[in-house]
Symmetry: C2
Amino acid sequence: MADFDALKEKVENKLVSVFENLTMPAEIKDAMYYSISIGGKRIRPVLLLMFASLNGAYSETALDFAAAIEMIHTYSLIHDDLPAMDNDDLRRGKPSNHKVFGEAMAILAGDGLLSLAVQIMAQRSIHDHEAILAMNDIIEGAGAFGMVSGQAMDIMTERAQAGYSIECIDKAKTGALIKAACLAGARFSSFSDEEIGFVSDFADNLGIAFQITDDILDVIGSTELLGKNTGSDEKNEKETYVTYYGLSGAQKKAEESIDKALYSLSLLNKNTDTIKQLTLDVLKRNH
Amino acid sequence: MADFDALKEKVENKLVSVFENLTMPAEIKDAMYYSISIGGKRIRPVLLLMFASLNGAYSETALDFAAAIEMIHTYSLIHDDLPAMDNDDLRRGKPSNHKVFGEAMAILAGDGLLSLAVQIMAQRSIHDHEAILAMNDIIEGAGAFGMVSGQAMDIMTERAQAGYSIECIDKAKTGALIKAACLAGARFSSFSDEEIGFVSDFADNLGIAFQITDDILDVIGSTELLGKNTGSDEKNEKETYVTYYGLSGAQKKAEESIDKALYSLSLLNKNTDTIKQLTLDVLKRNH
């Protein structure tokens, strides 16, 4: 199976070609494309493609879905950065969307990216049953019970208008879409219900490890490498895995989650080497 | 076929039952439900059900889609009312979403409603081919080339950063989702490609008439009946059908569009009495 960087390049080429073929007003298209084009780890689309490759080469439809899930992730970042939300000026080392295009266009760029992602998935689903299952996984992770609820719980807790636990917030805000990427990929590999269960357990633990390392990086990472301001959690007096478990406690918890993830992965009895590598690399993240 | 008010009641009951069964954080659920529950003409879902009834009783799936399209319309109003967009404090005679729940929760409530609508449609599409076709119609109308582009063109033109024509803006901003409602309904009646073409022509003209009467009401309507502030177009020096064609010219153009719509409707050779009545009532709107 292709390694991370090769799959990342496939995803980025697909994103470019999607936007090359879009006929829509330049102002909104530019705003949508800006946040897509300024980079990112692309971990969700790559995970989708890795799982879609476990029973043979991934399909063109899977690649479309990989692009779609990255659009959904990007829309959530654009809206999260808005002044009314987390008010972040910097994203991936560049001015955030509303700093370049204004708040109105940033709101619409987010709406447009979510809509475009759904449109791509819905078109592919007309004659493809695996696609419609994958679309259901993705929209469940992205949606009212997943990512959107996570962001709502995060904001309400930060503003002391509610008191959701960090596990509860992160599972919805970050974990749900990472899980959706893995599950959607597994659909394209025509996995059985039992195998989907193993993927689900894997993804839950990967999501936790990913969020813990995010929190650790906010303390010990550099703004330069991260492309966003560090120390923001402390500044906002935000409860994180680090404030809750301490730095070494958080690190230990991340390692435990990775162990659990790798165990679930092993139950698939497939050649999952590249997924294993990606999982281990989460612990070594510096951005 | 049931008349407008009976169908409207069915839609409102369905919306209530969807939210009764939602398990999600109260803060975001309340914000989503607030804008759904404060009323509205419900013209899009009723149109969907009317077209879904032309070859027999509409299905439960069609009713779910009717609820979904109203959620999409509502999300667009919440985002349009935001201070960064049209900055409207009043909607349907009540404080707009961000005045009650704050901007952050209003942005998320919009995102949540769009996501929930997509989730409902995607679930129904797993075993229903008409549903996936209807979902494609709706997301095309709502999406990056439809409603979202329309709002972007409107805002850019209003702020003199672009100069899109009123026809072009309204076709995307208002027309696309009205058209999507009619087409989606027609899918559930298993219409042929030719019949879908007649529905499409009908809907294009209905959308134009609807937007023209909106512009006329902004001049001659009352804030009390409309539930939103009138005179806002004049205040914003906005080009409308009235500023462009004059009041009587705009009225004439609305009548012509209705005539064209009714002609296309007649080509279907179905009992379309209630749709005809709804179409004629557009000219008599006072809210």
